[in-house]
């Protein structure tokens, strides 16, 4: 099963045309940075920061057609908003795995 919504990604490629490669690169760089920051916030138990970063990553991932990743990030955002951080490290593990898959698929698409 693909980690990307393939119908949507085709539409996105049509919109972006030759800039699609740049978009993928930008998304990956930006997301890697934000994931690092998210990890720090989780370690620091900073619920507000966790929620905001997850929110931003969630939106960007949805836009790049990574639906599973976006859904996982929403979980973290919701935990952060509710200040219930117990399960966050566990979900974050899943996010990192999912992100690696998305990255692989996106790089193949370029």
């Amino acid at each position: 099963m693909s980690h990307l919504n393939m119908a949507q990604i085709q539409e996105l490629k049509d919109v972006m045309e030759e800039a699609f490669g740049d978009l993928v690169m930008t998304y990956l760089q930006d997301s890697e940075q934000k994931l690092k920051a998210l990890k720090k916030s989780i370690n620091a138990n900073d619920a507000k920061q966790i929620a905001d970063l997850a929110h931003s990553l969630k939106g960007a991932s949805a836009n790049i057609c990574a639906e599973n990743l976006s859904a996982l990030l929403k979980k973290v955002e919701d935990f952060g908003r509710a200040d219930e951080l117990n399960q966050v490290p566990y979900v974050f593990e899943q996010i990192q795995t999912e992100f690696r898959c998305v990255k692989t698929e996106l790089q193949q698409l370029k």
Binding site: L12, M16, A19, D22, T26, H55, S56, A60, A62, N63
Partner: protein
């Protein structure tokens, strides 16, 4: 679908999101500028003045809602649609976005078709808004302009229409504050003799067309009253002026009254107005005064009738004039106040101060149902002349004397004689002299006789004796047609000479023709038996003027007319 490319600001802290949005917007043919947080969005708004803003909600520094508030404040009256970019789901979060000044949402992931449709919709709304705004600006500008013009017009109008003596102690009046725009005119002035002239006019229509006729009306009223002209002369002059300047269908319902202290009499001319009232102090009774004429500005001078009604007017008697605004006042049930109710005020309240009573009854009737003060009311009381004092005539008021000292010759030659009737042209010029207008019928007959004598009998040499039998009549016109063809260097020459005299004037008309004349040595100007003179209507002419003289070989006749201007009653 797109009318013109729009300038669109994309504000999102997430670079990849921004790239996608920019790509979609550019694909639609619009221009894009970008901002990475709320502060940048506000800066970009000020620099780029974008048409539409796509604004992310959660951004560092200044968030989307704060940025929206700042931008809407800066925009003022300009319309800047803000579409929030959000993945928020909570209803309360979405509502907060709208409250901060947002106009719509689009949620992540962006759907290209929905985003494009929303941008297009706001583009149309923006275009409509701009059209409305510029039309509103034009309307506002025109309105300011119009209001200014009306203020100036009102100032001029007040100078002209209210410079009279409405403030005399025996006159009470209330003039509708809308008078300039509802066509009501109220004028009062004193004659050199001390009498008072009062005029209430109600022009057809409203607004400027109604106000315009009031100017010449007031000018003539004051000018001629100050010079002592009779009411009949003033009405004739106003009628002529209004007939000349007002478009068809516009006229002035008028009541003019002349109060004579010496004769204790009120003379009233009324045209086209509802009944007015005279209150008799002695009997405590009220008389109706009715209109007996058409409004001013309808009839020609010839058809115009200046006949007025006379009423005894003893000390304490009162004359009431009102505009139809009083009769047409409506109560909450849209009922009219009406003439019956108005006259019953006099019966209900004997020995009252009717001026105040009428106003209070109308107020009571109308109640709170949107009173518009569209009422003009005047009360004129007969008092001893000493109460109001001597006349202070302002001799600088407009001159209505017309040309008084001039000479003119008018010569008609062959072709013109054959085809052209010169009478209207000449009468038109003579009618510029006010005294001539009183006798314009007489003048027409005189001129027609003089011209026919000079042309038919003088130039063409025809005898009206022929016209006495049916056969002769036909022969007369036969001869006339032949004679017309043989015109050669023929002419009829009119000379008019108008000179002022003490308190009046004198008009001399000399008519010369190219005919061979006739022997006038034994002429009897008064006899009907002047057969020998080709049937010239000499007795008729003589009866119309003060003197008649034939000159030279009988081809030249000189008549004169003189008059005294009627000033005092």
């Amino acid at each position: 679908m797109e009318a013109r490319p729009l300038n669109i600001l994309v504000a999102d802290d997430n670079q990849s999101d921004r790239m996608i949005l920019c790509a979609i917007v550019k694909k639609m043919g619009h221009q894009v500028c970008e901002a990475a947080d709320g502060n940048e969005a506000v800066d970009q708004y000020m620099q780029q003045k974008p048409d539409i803003i796509l604004l992310d909600v959660i951004m560092p520094n200044l968030n989307g809602q704060e940025a929206a508030r700042a931008i809407k404040t800066l925009a003022g009256e300009d319309m800047v649609p803000i579409i929030f970019l959000t993945s928020l789901q909570e209803a309360s979060d979405l509502a907060a976005c709208l409250e901060s000044g947002g106009d719509d949402f689009i949620s992540k992931p962006y759907n290209k078709i929905i985003l494009q449709a929303k941008i297009s919709a706001f583009g149309r709304m923006l275009k409509m808004h701009n059209t409305l705004q510029s039309q509103r600006d034009v309307i506002r500008e025109n309105n300011d302009h119009m209001r200014h013009e009306q203020e100036v017009a009102k100032a001029v109008y007040d100078n002209v229409a209210h410079s009279g003596c409405l403030d005399l102690p025996n006159i009470k009046h209330m003039l509708s504050p809308f008078s300039i725009f509802n066509g009501d005119v109220l004028l009062a002035a004193r004659k050199p003799s001390g009498s008072i002239h009062i005029l209430l006019g109600d022009f057809t229509g409203h607004g400027l067309p109604a106000a315009i006729g009031a100017m010449p009306l007031a000018e003539i009223f004051y000018g001629m009253t100050a010079k002592g002209f009779l009411m009949a002369d003033i009405l004739r002059e106003i009628n002529l002026k209004l007939k000349k300047i007002l478009p068809v269908g516009y006229f002035c319902c008028t009541c003019m009254a002349s109060l004579s202290f010496r004769r204790q009499e009120l003379e009233v001319w009324m045209g086209g107005l509802p009944d007015f009232a005279i209150y008799r102090k002695a009997s405590n009774k009220v008389e109706h005064v009715k209109s007996s004429h058409l409004p001013l500005g309808v009839l020609s001078t010839q058809a115009f009738d200046t006949k007025s009604q006379s009423f005894d007017f003893l000390p304490g008697d009162k004359f009431y004039m009102w505009s139809d605004g009083i009769i047409e006042s409506r109560n909450a049930d849209s009922e009219l106040f009406g003439e019956d109710r108005l006259f019953s005020v006099f019966e209900q309240y004997p020995n009252e101060k009717y001026f105040d009573r009428i106003l209070s009854e109308v107020n009571k009737f109308v109640g709170e149902s949107g009173r518009d003060d569209d009422t003009t009311l005047l009360e004129l009381t007969m008092v001893d002349e000493s109460v109001i004092g001597k006349v202070d005539i302002d001799l600088s008021s407009g001159a209505i004397t017309g040309p008084a000292n001039w000479n003119m010759t008018y010569t008609l030659r062959d072709d013109t004689l054959r085809t052209f009737n010169p009478l209207p042209v000449m009468l038109n010029i003579l009618n510029d002299v006010p005294a001539m207008r009183n006798i314009s019928g007489q003048l027409y007959t005189l001129m027609a006789e003089l011209f026919s004598n000079a042309f038919e009998h003088g130039v063409l040499g025809l005898s009206s004796e022929l016209k006495k039998t049916a056969d002769g009549f036909a022969e007369y016109y036969n001869l006339r047609t032949k004679a017309l063809e043989t015109l050669n260097n023929d002419y009829v020459k009119f000379e008019f000479d108008l000179t002022p005299t003490q308190g009046g004037g004198c008009l001399t008309i000399t008519v010369e023709d190219s005919g061979k004349g006739f022997d006038y040595t034994n002429i009897n100007l008064k006899s009907e038996e002047n057969v020998a003179y080709s049937g010239r209507g000499i007795p008729l002419i003589y009866s119309l003027c003060d003197s008649l003289t034939y000159l030279d070989k009988g081809n030249k006749v000189k008549v004169s007319l003189s008059w005294q201007t009627q000033l005092e009653e």
